[in-house]
Amino acid sequence: MNEIMEKIKEGILDLFPEIGEVPITAEMCLGDIPEYDSMAAVNLQTFLEENFPLKVSLDMLAAEMTLGELASYIARFVKTKP
């Protein structure tokens, strides 16, 4: 779970460098990313698809989703993989 969270944090810093010094925590909502919109969600979706064995749907990557919730969802999916 922690590994997943770290990977997500790394991806967010990489994809959205303008986030600057906003602390990236499990409680952070995707909407806290400056100018987060559906294109940003597509970029994040692509990153997640490349780094985890699943496709997270765009409607999950809405502004209210927290990083902690996202990591838990991915962890559930990863566990069920053979």
Partner: protein, 553 residues
């Protein structure tokens, strides 16, 4: 005559200067404050760089290396950028006596500038780009520059936003089975095969926007609005517009309304045993539908025939263009003259121009983040059905485009009673009595939701308004799913003029508004019965969906 400053940037800037001229001491104080903040940020960043040399756990001190300096430099650039951004915004927000419209204009164009000079867009001030470069022995940047040059050569100076080889219309998207049942020189009408044993007698007719292609409602199967409605027991028709060329320069807005929207409604009604239809228009398609509803209500129906539309729906549609949002900064009297001069040469408004305008409305994502990923990081463009559609732009015919920009955006005549004459009839939205379902989206750069709300007190039938989270596309193409984090607010809004008051009385609901709309449609759809055939004697199937027009470049 083509003018300099078509977007009024220079005049807004001069107004801003004049606003501050009378307050030189306040301006000087702001400038001193800016210098102080920049200095503080620089000192802090240098201190941080130097303390990074101190051992964290009593070990050997280490010298900051080249990498640390680059990281620190990137961090400092970002802080300076953010300080300048706040300062400029305050300068404009606080300009004494500056006219509100000019203030908003300056904020819009300043935002364009701020996004373009973000440190993330430059290799040496984007630490992730540097790290990728080091990790890949320079491959990432080499790959990125090659893609940039390739896109430039192929006419995409802003770089492609999507992997165009990942999708093909009719193979991966727009695959719902159906047939073209009508074609004229403006559109094809597609009827989809029904998916249930019994269907509602009242079909749904989608009047699609003719800016971009129709298949935004038939993307990959999980995202397809058309598939969703078929599974709910509806017969669905959709308009696929012809992408206009120079020969269509004289096609008017009236043509889109009568030879397009009205004709599609007639075809659908005829195939479905003369039933009236649920008509639904999206964006400019919704504007045409609104005008058509007023046109139809102007004169009594033919004797013995029901009114052809049982209810109507607008998705992210403006009928009142008094506050069109950021797009209003691109559509000015001077810019329209400039666009008209361009169209005189070609007969149409180029798809490249439209694409550029839309990308400017969300330049942070649609231009600069795309450039960062593609050029500085050397990443391939994403494989996204939504972005594929977004990049499949269309042209606009000269006559229709000129009329649309002038009479809707500049003169806002659709909401003036009997001011606009279309198809030989004066247009009065107040005559519309049929129930309306209108959807706006919370983060919409093209049709701001508060402006879409303005339809509620312009018509005289019952109105249910829905505000969806997300933007102009993702808020509408919004399939229900258990994991969805999207939300919406819904409620009656007939005669309501105050969107804030309306919203303050609503509670948000989690998920997609599609289910709410389905229930609203079902209430006027009659009892399900035998599905209609695909086409009819009068309108036989001509070709399999998605048809020919959508494939035309």
């Amino acid at each position: 005559m083509v003018t300099v400053d078509p977007f009024g940037i220079y005049s807004a800037m001069m107004d801003l200067c004049r606003a501050w001229e009378r307050f030189p001491w306040e301006l000087a104080r702001m400038q001193a404050d800016l210098m102080l903040k920049l200095q503080e940020a620089t000192t802090e960043e240098l201190r941080r760089l130097l303390t990074s040399e101190e051992p964290a756990d009593g070990g050997e001190p280490r010298r900051a290396d080249f990498f640390d300096m680059l990281k620190s430099g990137a961090q400092l650039a970002r802080r300076h950028h953010s300080i300048y951004e706040d300062w400029l915004r305050n300068l404009i927000d606080g300009a004494p006596g500056l006219q509100e419209k000019q203030r908003k204009r300056m904020l819009f164009w300043t935002r364009q500038l701020i996004h373009s000079i973000s440190p993330s867009n430059s290799f040496w001030t984007n630490f992730s780009a540097i790290r990728r470069f080091m990790d890949s022995n320079g491959e990432s940047l080499a790959r990125g520059l090659q893609s940039f040059m390739k896109d430039l050569r192929e006419g995409h100076p802003l770089m492609r936003m999507v992997d165009s080889r990942a999708f093909k219309v009719g193979r991966d998207i727009a695959t719902t089975p159906g047939a073209v049942v009508f074609r004229n020189n403006l559109m094809e009408v597609i009827q989809y095969e029904t998916a249930t044993d019994a269907t509602y007698p009242v079909p749904v007719v989608f009047i699609q926007p003719w800016i971009n292609k129709f298949y935004i409602f038939d993307l990959t199967p999980p995202m397809s609005f058309v598939r969703y409605l078929r599974q709910k027991g509806f017969t669905v028709f959709i308009i696929s517009w012809k992408n206009p060329d120079a020969q269509m320069r004289d096609v008017t807005f009236d043509d889109y309304m009568l030879s397009g929207a009205l004709q599609a409604i007639r075809v659908a009604g005829s195939i479905c045993r003369d039933a009236p239809v649920h008509a639904a228009g999206y964006c400019i398609g919704g504007t045409a539908l609104s005008a058509l509803m007023a046109w139809l209500n102007r004169e009594p129906c033919e004797p013995g025939k029901p009114f052809p539309v049982v209810d109507w729906t607008l998705f992210s549609t403006l009928v009142d263009f008094s506050e069109p949002g950021d797009i209003g900064f691109l559509v000015t009297r001077k810019s329209v003259e400039w666009i008209e001069a361009m169209m005189k040469e070609t007969g149409y408004l180029s798809e490249k121009f439209i694409e550029l305008a839309f990308r400017m409305l969300g330049s942070d994502s649609l231009i600069w983040r795309n450039f960062m990923n593609g050029c500085l990081y050397g990443l391939p463009p994403p494989k996204s059905d939504l972005l594929y559609w977004n990049s499949d732009s269309t042209r606009l015919p000269e006559a229709m485009c000129s009329f649309y920009l002038r009479e809707f955006y500049l003169n806002n005549r659709l909401v003036e009673q009997d001011s606009l004459h279309l198809g030989g009839r004066p247009i009065d939205l107040g005559r519309i009595r049929q129930p309306l379902y209108a959807v706006g989206t919370q983060i919409d750069h093209i049709c701001p939701w508060k402006s879409t709300f303005k339809v509620c007190d312009k018509v005289h039938g019952p109105v249910r308004y829905v505000l969806s989270s997300d933007g102009h596309i993702a808020g509408i193409v919004n399939p229900p799913s258990e994991m969805s984090r999207r939300k919406f607010w819904a409620g009656e809004a007939g005669g309501e003029a105050d969107s804030d008051r309306w919203l303050s009385c609503r509670e948000d609901k989690r998920g997609s508004w599609w289910e709410d709309w389905t229930r609203w449609l079902q209430a006027r759809s009659l009892s399900p019965g035998e599905p209609p055939a695909l086409g009819s004697l009068k309108y036989p199937p001509l070709e399999k969906a998605p048809g020919t027009y959508v494939q035309e470049p």
